[in-house]
């Protein structure tokens, strides 16, 4: 049944795999048929955060029934380091281990269970070394994975000391486990050319291709990396899928058989990187109206033992340390702390959320200091014409937020509810309500310029069916659906006439990771370019065959139309084919206008900004710190939406994921450096019951000023940060107990326990007055 062959883009329509998802027929890597003799992998892991290996005896592992092969670093034929950018991530540890869980050796066996049991037979001696386990440890030891970096705008120290009011503060923001429902998994098959066909659950197939080739010391063209879909990624499969794929390739190469490596959840939670913890410290100068004169801010990210993507992540925290606010003068220092913990990595927002937490705390503290509603202080500090320069020199050109915030404030009845909450809080001794509106402005583009490129391959078959392939990967975000809509729109056909197929490095080479919310911006444009090339070829053919201007050929209603004459796309493709017209083309896109000089910390790193705001209302039980999110209103800017159903899904899903990060999801390590939040039984992502029944999400309907695909905007990451409103509302409820004279420190996640202690801090304030300060 064909859907209305109108323009497919812009229409709310289901995910391209929705029917397969609900039937269980959408295949993930572990669902692929098991090849005869297939081997399965487990790794032997370091029990120490930092130690020298003194002795490694794997004889009993080798002898364990069912074991096929055992490897250590010495068995890697090519490059040992599988780091994405800066060296430092050995596939298997060498003489020294640098985090608990680091793979020391790997086992291939007839089953995953056998491999896991065999691992326990290893006898390894360690000499423990001094370990830094926290940001504080690393700061004290001056240990960094990369040098500190700074952005400056104006003379901040002079301005702050001259400002009418000043505040200092600190906030610790914990990281987050990705908890993609499909854990890390990969599979490799040796090819007849001495190469490898690797199927990986990855956001970055090209990186997998390169790493596998380097580990095996073979040319890139011997390796094909493929991914049809991931069961969730969220940044956790950008670099972290690499070692899994390399391990399968290494064993496939050695054993000459296919190999699968599916990490058990516990290994995944221990061995793969997470969102960075951040310690944020600031001093801010402002006037009596709460307008910021200058901000001096330190952002210290807990990178773990290696750099991974921490260069860009801490940079992005710095790029978002202003969030939506004009700082006037600023010094923003980014530190990349080296700790003997797993190397932290990309996670939806890529440091941006941690940077925003700092400025949102600052704004609230200012509001309490001057005795005003934080919303008024937020509004007063928003970027506006004339007050539009960011600390990194980019001018904010589209002033979306002032109007968007006004509208949300009205639509959500913020002021009316604020009054109602006052009455409620007066009446209730133990229950207190909190309310907060927070904005998000998020920069769209990879901050590494050359990554902002994409390719696509379009094939038109002679029955009129189309196949599109591009460099982006599908992790549930709906990229394949949106690209399918673009292709359908370009040819005026229905979506089901367009197949979107697995991402493969042998179809589109040299791709960027599907990350930075850029998927549809980049690949949508590349796909459109490919479509236009095929259309041009068809139009030129039509012009010469039917003696019309190429512009006279229209693709609509599933037909090719020239004046009075109509063909189905299939009839016309067949005709063109017989006239030797090429019916396939590659497309390419590079993002215009962007540039950034990192040395100077100035430029235009972002093509544009995506914006949004949220209002959250919570009720807190002050006797226990338990709370409930009662209502959430969101207004979010996606430009001209490519698919409102998918965009709303991204907004809601991002919000709830962000809410989990800031409330119940608590990453914890013990004093020996072991992750103790290592299972869903002790690391709690939100359930359906945590989502407010009253959850109102609207799209802010306004086309992008920049020339993006059909004037849409990226949507993957920005909504996560809308959840800062939940944290701010919890803090507001705490502040209510002091009649809003004091904002307690509320590190994240704001678990019931942290809320409880924040409330005790409020009690102390009520007893002793302001001397407690902002801790």
């Amino acid at each position: 049944m064909a859907e209305q062959p109108e323009r497919a883009a812009g229409k709310a329509s289901p995910h391209e795999s929705a029917r397969k998802h609900v039937c269980g027929s959408a295949r993930y890597i572990d669902d692929l048929p098991v090849m005869p003799g297939m081997a399965h992998i487990a790794t032997g892991q370091s029990p120490y955060p930092h130690a020298r290996i003194t002795h490694l005896d794997l004889e009993d592992v080798r002898r364990y029934p069912g074991v096929l092969d055992v490897v250590t670093q010495a068995d890697i034929p090519g490059k040992v380091d599988v780091a994405p950018v800066f060296d430092g991530d050995p596939l298997l540890a060498g003489e020294v281990v640098e985090f608990v869980g680091q793979p020391v050796f790997a086992v291939a066996a007839v089953s995953m269970e056998v491999a896991q049991r065999a691992v326990a037979e290893a006898r390894i001696g360690y000499e423990p070394l001094q370990a830094q386990l926290s940001i504080e440890d690393a700061l004290a030891a001056d240990a960094h994975v990369l040098p500190p970096h700074e952005m400056r705008m104006g003379d901040v120290s002079t301005v702050i000391s001259a400002a009418p009011q000043r505040l200092n503060g600190e906030l610790y923001v914990r990281g987050q486990e990705h908890f993609y429902l499909e854990g890390q998994v990969g599979q490799a098959e040796p090819t007849e050319d001495g190469g490898i066909h690797v199927i990986a659950s990855t956001q970055h197939p090209t990186e997998i291709q390169h790493l596998v080739a380097e580990v095996l010391d073979i040319p890139f063209n011997r390796v094909v990396a493929e991914v049809r879909r991931m069961g969730g990624g969220f940044g956790g499969k950008e670099t972290q899928a690499g070692p899994i794929a390399c391990m399968t390739a290494l064993f496939a190469h050695r054993l000459g058989r296919s190999v699968r490596y599916r990490m058990p959840r516990r290994d995944d939670m221990v061995q793969t990187g997470k969102r960075h913890d951040f310690l944020n410290r600031w001093s801010v100068g402002f006037d009596d109206q709460g307008v910021i004169h200058g901000l001096d801010l330190m952002l210290a990210g807990k990178c773990g033992y290696s750099a991974d993507l921490s260069q860009g992540i801490v940079d992005r925290a710095m790029f978002h340390a202003d969030n939506a606010y004009f700082l006037n003068t600023a010094r923003i220092e980014g530190l990349r702390c080296r700790t003997h913990t797993v190397s932290n990595t990309a996670f939806r927002g890529f440091g941006g959320p941690q940077g925003m937490m700092a400025i949102e705390t600052v704004i609230e503290d200012i509001a309490r200091a001057i005795g005003q509603d934080p919303l008024d202080v937020r509004k007063r500090n928003l970027y506006s014409p004339g007050r539009d320069e960011t600390p990194y020199g980019q001018t904010v050109e589209q002033h979306v937020l002032p109007e968007l915030v006004e509208r949300l404030e009205a639509d959500s009845d913020y002021r009316g509810r604020r009054a109602g909450i006052g009455a409620f809080n007066q009446k209730h001794r133990y229950l207190k309500k909190g309310l907060a509106l927070t904005p998000v402005k998020f920069g769209i583009s990879f901050t590494v310029k050359h990554l902002n490129q994409a390719g696509a391959l379009l094939q038109l078959y002679t029955d009129g069916s189309l196949m599109i392939n591009h460099g982006g990967t599908e992790m549930g975000q709906g990229l394949f659906t949106k690209v399918q809509q673009v292709v359908a729109s370009e040819f005026g056909v229905s979506r089901d006439q367009v197949m979107v197929t697995s991402t493969r490095t042998d179809k589109i080479p040299n791709t960027s990771a599907t990350a930075a919310s850029s998927g549809s911006d980049l690949n949508g444009m590349a796909a459109r370019d490919a479509c236009q090339r095929v259309r041009e070829a068809l139009c030129e053919f039509a012009a010469s065959e039917f003696r019309v201007e190429p512009e006279a050929v229209r693709f609509e209603r599933g037909l090719v139309v020239i004046g009075e004459r109509e063909w189905t796309l299939g009839e016309f493709a067949e005709l063109a084919y017989t006239h030797r017209v090429p019916l396939f083309a590659t497309g390419f896109y590079r993002t215009p206008k962007i540039h950034y000089n990192r040395e100077e910390g100035k430029g235009r790193p972002f093509f544009y900004y995506a914006n949004g705001a949220a209002v959250s209302e919570v009720t807190v039980d002050t006797a226990t710190g338990e709370y409930r999110v009662e209502r959430v209103d969101i207004l979010h800017d996606v430009g001209d939406s490519l698919n409102p159903a998918i965009d709303i899904g991204q907004i809601e899903g991002g919000f709830v994921q962000g809410m989990g990060w800031l409330t119940t999801e608590e990453l914890l390590w013990d004093k020996q450096g072991c992750v103790i939040s290592n299972s869903p039984s002790n690391y709690k992502i939100p359930t359906a019951g945590d989502v407010p029944a009253d959850f109102r999400v609207s799209l802010y309907d306004r086309p992008n000023n920049e020339e993006t695909i059909y004037l849409s905007k990226a949507v993957g990451e920005p909504p996560l940060m809308l959840a800062i409103s939940v944290w701010a509302a919890l803090r507001d409820a705490c502040a209510a107990t002091t009649r809003y004279r004091f904002s307690p420190r509320l590190d994240t996640p704001a678990t019931p326990e942290r809320v409880y202690w924040a409330l005790r801090e409020c009690e102390t304030f009520n007893r002793e007055g302001d001397s407690g300060g902002h801790g």
């Binding site: 929705a18 397969k20 609900v22 269980g24 027929s25 959840r265 159903a645 029944a693 326990e753």
Partner: protein, 492 residues
């Protein structure tokens, strides 16, 4: 090991396992033996629900369907039951008609990455089976939330899934359409009987059989729901070579509601308790609604909760204030009775001797005029392990009884605290501020909790007092007929 096969009915077909493995999970059976890969492994610990399938219990008068986490359910334990997986509901994603739940999930954009989706579909489809039998629930949203309380989704934020669940319930076609005939019930060709070979997964039907097996196999482990035991296999990769399944021992499966006492068989599930106690102890049922998830409650048993002696098990604080007694039997059929508070010795240690098993739990029947309050604290409201659980029971005869989970190495009564409160007499609670303060001080003397992944020791200590304070205020209001103080409402 031999030529004994597990034989299961899945989606109305018979499947054999290739070999015997008593600890093989249903998930492994479905994926590896049946090739049914629609059911996913997300965590292998019963926490995420991606492996949810529907089990049909056609024994007894009323056949019923319920969800289980197939990742921690021993396949053997379902020998004479049948299973429906996502592949058994509707089409294949390209052809065929969808089940109304599947249709609603598509229409509401309930899937993004799709990995958790089959689990949600099975939870919601099972709710449909139930609604078909029992009629529309009073609060459809609450019923949907309950059904999916053990399903995690990391992409959607749940709103569209909840909407799909409600929409499908309201689908007027649903009761009449062919596609929604009860998925169980088609006649089988072939025999369900497993070949009568020596085996290592036993399903005794009587206590005498159980006792015989215990004496012959002292090293065998007892399994009921398996929601805890199976984690040794799926998380630590240990083998469980000999298992005795308690689920078929009729005497252990009963709840006897006597006029004075209630006897709860050790193999009674939480779900069964929710039904049995709906009118007798609604406060207990409210607590049970937060114990694990629907999938866990369908399998987990009271005997398991007591026997594994976790300091944060959710049933013991309630049972302790009820002065519960355990009836414990051994392989020779000897029986002894022991108060629950004496059963717990130390962390994960009980008085249970090798060869002994918990047969049943006996409590006094809750009486009118009694006042019960159970307060569970956890990081997450649903499906989370307890940080601190406070249980408070008052009646005129005995005064206030107080017990806690999460405050010590074992679940424990707060005897000193009770003495302080009941000092002036049990009939009228004299709960002045000074008494409450003294009672809290007594708690501090009694308990020195630990800090762990769930909370700090200080928070636990503070919460014991806070929950006691709230209970005392609640009791005062109860005694004086006043409105109790308002508390957080979940699932509003």
């Amino acid at each position: 090991m031999g030529d004994r096969f597990v034989r299961l009915k899945v989606n109305n077909r018979l499947y054999d396992s290739g070999d015997e493995a008593p600890d093989r999970t249903l998930l492994a059976f479905l994926r590896n033996q049946c090739g049914l890969t629609g059911t996913k492994e997300g965590c292998a610990s019963g926490d995420c629900g991606a492996c949810t399938v529907m089990v049909h219990d056609e024994r007894g008068e009323k056949p019923r369907s319920y969800t289980v986490n197939s990742c921690i359910c021993p396949a053997e334990s379902l020998r004479d039951q049948s299973v429906t997986t996502v592949e058994g509901l509707g089409g294949d994603g390209v052809h065929g008609e969808l089940h109304p739940v599947q249709e609603a999930m598509v229409a509401c954009d309930g899937s993004q990455c799709g990995f958790c989706t089959p689990g949600f579909v099975m939870s919601l489809a099972t709710l449909h089976e139930e609604v078909r039998d029992k009629g529309m629930p009073e609060h459809p949203r609450k019923a949907v939330l309950d059904a999916i309380s053990g399903n995690l989704c990391r992409c959607t934020g749940y709103r569209p899934i909840v909407e799909a669940g409600i929409r499908a319930l309201n689908n007027p076609d649903f009761l009449t359409r062919n596609g929604t005939e009860p998925v169980s019930g088609a006649p089988l060709s072939g025999s369900m009987e497993a070949p009568n070979e020596p085996c290592s997964f036993w399903q005794p039907g009587t206590e005498a059989e159980l006792q015989g097996l215990l004496s012959a196999n002292p090293e065998a482990r007892l399994v009921a729901g398996g929601t805890d035991l199976m984690l040794e296999h799926t998380q630590l990769f240990r083998r469980l070579p000999k298992l005795i399944d308690l689920n078929r021992v009729e005497a252990l499966r009963r709840i006897e509601l006597g006029p004075e006492h209630i006897d709860i068989g050790a193999a009674v599930t939480y779900t069964e308790m929710e039904t049995a106690f709906a009118d007798i102890a609604p406060e207990l049922v409210r607590m049970l609604e937060r114990l694990g998830s629907r999938q866990i409650r369908n399998r987990g048993t009271i005997g398991g909760n007591i026997g594994n002696a976790s300091p944060i098990a959710d049933m013991p604080p309630f049972l302790l204030v009820m002065d519960a007694e355990l009836v414990i039997r051994d392989a020779r059929g000897n029986s002894r009775t022991e108060p629950l508070y004496e059963f717990y010795q130390d962390y994960k240690q009980t008085t249970l001797q090798p060869g002994e098993y918990i047969a049943l739990v006996r409590i006094d029947r809750p009486r009118p005029g009694q006042w019960l309050r159970l307060h569970k604290l956890s990081k997450r409201y649903e499906d989370d392990i307890t940080t601190v659980m406070g249980a408070f029971l008052w009646d005129a005869e005995t005064g206030l009884r107080v017990a806690y989970g999460g405050m010590a190495a074992v679940p424990a009564r707060a005897w000193r605290c009770e003495q302080v409160i009941n000092y002036g007499g049990t009939a009228i609670p004299a709960l002045d501020d000074l008494t409450i303060e003294r009672a809290c001080a007594a708690l501090n003397e009694t308990f020195s909790p630990i800090g762990d992944v769930r909370a700090s020791a200080d928070y636990r200590q503070a919460m014991a007092a806070s929950l006691l304070g709230r209970a005392c205020r609640g009791l005062k209001a109860f005694a004086s007929g006043e409105e109790p103080e308002e508390e957080l409402h979940h699932h509003g």
